[in-house]
């Protein structure tokens, strides 16, 4: 967890929980996101 100091710049933004950070490197979840993102990008590209 990031050390945050009250009233400083880094006090206010949301920071990810352990689960979120784990999901960003989880091979299964990221493989799924890879597929989803590619489909999304391709559908957007198809509009042109």
């Amino acid at each position: 967890m990031v050390k945050r100091n009250p009233y400083e710049q880094n006090y206010y933004p949301p920071v990810p929980t352990k689960l979120t950070r784990w999901s960003r490197v989880s091979l299964i979840w990221q493989t799924f996101r890879f597929i989803v993102l590619n489909i999304k990008i391709l559908r957007m590209v198809r509009k042109h």
Binding site: P14, L27, R33, I41, L42, V45, H48
Partner: protein
């Protein structure tokens, strides 16, 4: 027989050349004029800039590709456009100066029937005193700059390994810069590399930019769906910065860069100085400085080009305040209104105005990002303009193809660290690029296609795009199946 001349072999010009060649019979000639012998996949310069890739991995020689494709390549710089010809030329032509070592300094007049200006940006380091790799700051805009930056980074890592604490500044070197996404990628990759080298605790890293808030990116930021909320990209970006212990200064116009410090003024008029041992600051962009002359040799540069040097196309250039900007101000066909056989694509076309709101500080200094024209729209423009010209050459009585940025999406995959299993990338998609508050009153963009997330998948996509686009640019079999 028709002659299509394309100025520039970057993302927009090279895409246009390949598509035009594919669609035109061999009786028609496609000529590319570009000063560099190499093609560069610019987005991967970020990885060159941290030493993860070498310049050879992001470039290749253009001449063999063009030879195979039957495209004439002149390694030269365009100097002026003569859309009415002159006393010696009935045809319009372009004056060029060769940069190829065998012909360096020689000039030539190249006649055209159709002209595509895809000359991209001039990296205007001179706009800020002391800015640029020849002076006091570094850059990743070209593979050469990025290679130099990686060398300096290596030296600084060695110093930190010996126990020194160093200050890094990354961002934009002027109040009117664009391309914040590239600097954003660089700061994340820098932080990642310092972690990998085990010296992160020895570095203070600060973002210094002309954005009104983090996450503006020159597109006025975006509202995206995240964790059950519609969130502004500012929150997303601040979260990413906080997580990595990065500091930020926004609303800044850099006034002077010295060897060890950068001076800036802010939107509220205050001034500041930040010390640095390493500063990677992007320059503002302008047009490459092409001139235009009429048939009598009269200077008509201001008819063809806007004051910033970018070429006028079918946009609405009438000056208007921010609250009157409309998506329909943006060009659709990229055709010059006066000379119907001239088009400008990619960074080379003059945008009608910004996307982010224009702002000035009490001293009258404008501090706001100018609009980005990223790789994906540049490629799409290159393709549709090539198709329009092919239709015109073939005598098809069809309306010109359209690809307005107000009707086009973009995917921006920003690397946040390179590594097959420990890398990460920020995947942002948006539709449309130009917000449309009439069509999407609440968010300005279609929330279904406007997203942002970070993870390993982003790195995989970025890496896959690196190979896919270089494959396509080399015109290897089925290259046209890779979308722009």
């Amino acid at each position: 027989m028709a002659k299509l001349v394309i100025l520039g072999a970057g993302i927009a010009g090279h895409t246009a050349a390949l598509h035009a060649r594919r669609k035109l019979g061999s009786q028609h000639e496609v000529i590319v004029i570009a000063p560099n012998s190499k093609w560069n996949w610019i987005p991967s310069n970020i990885w060159v800039g941290v030493g993860w890739m070498k310049p050879e991995q992001v470039t290749f020689e253009l001449a063999p590709v063009y030879k195979k494709q039957h495209i004439t390549f002149k390694q030269a710089r365009a100097v002026s456009i003569h859309p009415q010809g002159d006393k010696d030329h009935a045809q319009p032509f372009v004056s060029i100066e060769y940069t190829h070592p065998d012909k360096a300094g020689q000039s030539e007049q190249v006649e055209y029937d159709y002209l595509i200006n895809a000359t991209g940006p001039k990296l205007n380091f001179a706009a800020t005193e002391g800015l640029g790799p020849d002076k006091n700051s570094l850059s990743v805009c070209t593979y050469g700059h990025a290679h130099q930056t990686a060398g300096v980074l290596r030296e600084q890592i060695e110093r930190m390994k010996k126990g020194e604490h160093l200050k890094f500044v990354v961002g934009t070197g002027h109040g009117m810069c664009t391309c914040q996404g590239a600097a954003f990628e660089y700061i994340f990759n820098l932080e990642f590399e310092l972690q990998k080298a085990g010296v992160r605790d020895k570095a203070t890293i600060t973002w210094l930019s002309n954005e009104v808030e983090l996450g503006d990116f020159g597109i006025g930021g975006m509202l995206l769906k995240r964790g059950g909320y519609i969130t502004h990209s500012r929150i997303f970006a601040e979260s990413l910065f906080t997580e990595r212990g990065l500091h930020w200064i926004t609303q800044a116009h850099v006034t002077r860069v010295e060897k060890d410090r950068t001076h800036y003024e802010l939107l509220n008029g205050e001034t500041g100085v930040i010390e640095h041992d390493f500063a990677m600051l992007l320059p503002p962009f302008s047009g490459v400085g092409l001139k235009a002359y009429d048939k009598n040799g009269g200077d008509i540069t201001s008819e063809l080009f806007a004051a910033n040097g970018f070429m006028k196309v079918d946009a609405d250039y009438s000056p208007k305040p921010y609250d009157q900007w409309k998506p329909s101000d943006w060009p659709k066909t990229y055709q010059n209104p006066q000379y119907k056989n001239i088009f400008a694509v990619g960074i080379a076309f003059a945008p009608p105005h910004g996307i982010s709101k224009p702002m000035k500080n009490p001293n009258g200094t404008p501090i706001n990002p100018t609009p980005p024209r990223t790789g994906m729209p540049s490629g799409v423009m290159g393709r549709i303009v090539a198709y329009s010209i092919v239709d015109m050459i073939k005598g098809k009585n069809k309306p010109l193809r359209e690809a307005s940025m107000a009707n086009m999406g973009a995917a921006c995959i920003a690397s946040a660290g390179a590594g097959l299993f420990n890398g990460s990338g920020v995947s942002m998609t948006m539709y449309p690029i130009i917000p449309d508050f009439e069509k999407y009153p609440e968010t300005g963009r279609d929330i279904k296609y406007t997203t942002g997330e970070i993870g390993l998948a982003g790195h995989w996509i970025k890496h896959a795009l690196h190979f896919a686009f270089i494959y396509k640019a080399k015109a290897l079999p089925l290259w046209m199946a890779v979308p722009e």
